[in-house]
Amino acid sequence: MPAKQQKRTRIVYIIMAQQEITKKSEWPLWEVFIRSKAGLDHKHAGSLHAADAQMAIENARDVYTRRMEGVSIWVVESKNIHASDPSEANSLYDPANDKIYRHPTFYNLPDEVKYM
């Protein structure tokens, strides 16, 4: 390898190593779930970066509940979320399509039956 090119390759490696370091210094990503009022489910609100769970909750309070949007916060590190694959949507959800007998409206009741 000619010297000039060698030098360039070395520089590229140094830059790559630096990028690796920068990436490492980025705080992990957390998903934020908020219960908007007592009695309701926690709902996904968005995500944020934080060094640990406690900081994630504190940041979530500042970022997602500045206007009384919540009474409780859950945070989960994003890497721990597992999601279904959209390309498998058909095989996952279609089988439910032809099972309309699972809904109460499938059954005809005589008019005399008022409350059921």
Binding site: E26, W27, L29, G46, L48, A51, D62, R66, P86, S87
Partner: protein, 317 residues
Amino acid sequence: MTVHSFQEHFDSLIDREISIEPKDWMPDDYRKTLIRQISQHAHSEIVGMLPEGNWITRAPSLRRKAVLLAKVQDEAGHGLYLYSAAETLGISRDEMYDQLHSGKAKYSSIFNYPTLTWADMGAIGWLVDGAAIMNQVPLCRASYGPYARAMVRVCKEESFHQRQGFEIMLTLAKGTEIQKKMAQDAFNRWWWPSLMMFGPPDAESPNTAQSVRWRIKRLTNDELRQKFVDVTVEQAKVLGLDMPDKDLKWNEERGHYDFGAIDWEEFKNVVKGNGPCNKQRLETRKQAWEEGKWVRDAAMAHAEKRNARKKEAAKAA
């Protein structure tokens, strides 16, 4: 599925106004365009804090100070919503910061103008946030789910920004002669840059058609600009201020106001980096990032140490 059928499926989702979500297949250009558009928007929120932060310590009353603080805090929040929406497309936060700090990514050029008097806080809220809302409301229906959801949140919060700005303008306009002059001066300086916020005229915006097709832009630059002019003229009447455009005239036939020529040379120049405050804004932003490094590193080291200690304790038990 072949690439062709992936594309067909994507197109049909777009046509049926069904949201595209992070794990769905999407064309590379759609992803790239969205990353650029969303990160640019996020950068604008973050840099947008700087001209206003300048006035927090000089707000004329405790009430105004509390309001301005809340507004600037909202902007930080809006930047964060948008950065996380962009991250779902596969770009890291650090990469986006790098692009901002190196000048590779742009932010709204309006923030490269100086804030000379307190009335500028009024004019920014009224005009700049007003223009931003005009632009953002249609994006609440954008095709990319995380982006649309972030925009809903942003729009909900932003209407207070415009109202507080209008209130500042109204107070000044109804005040002493000097205060009224101050309001008019701020209006004069911010009016044209606000019109430029909607971007170049449609004829010079070649990507508009594709973005409209993808539903990541719902109205064209000129359509939004016209809407903004029409509503602002009426608001200026309430303030009793003069429109800083001698060519402004109601056009009966069009049902809109005609307005004077925009100085696109100035716009291009500011985008290129030659605006009055480009250098200062970027320097301030970079300085904040660099000086915060030890805090970020320390927090990470602390978290790692605590984790290690927890593991040790678990092992011992």
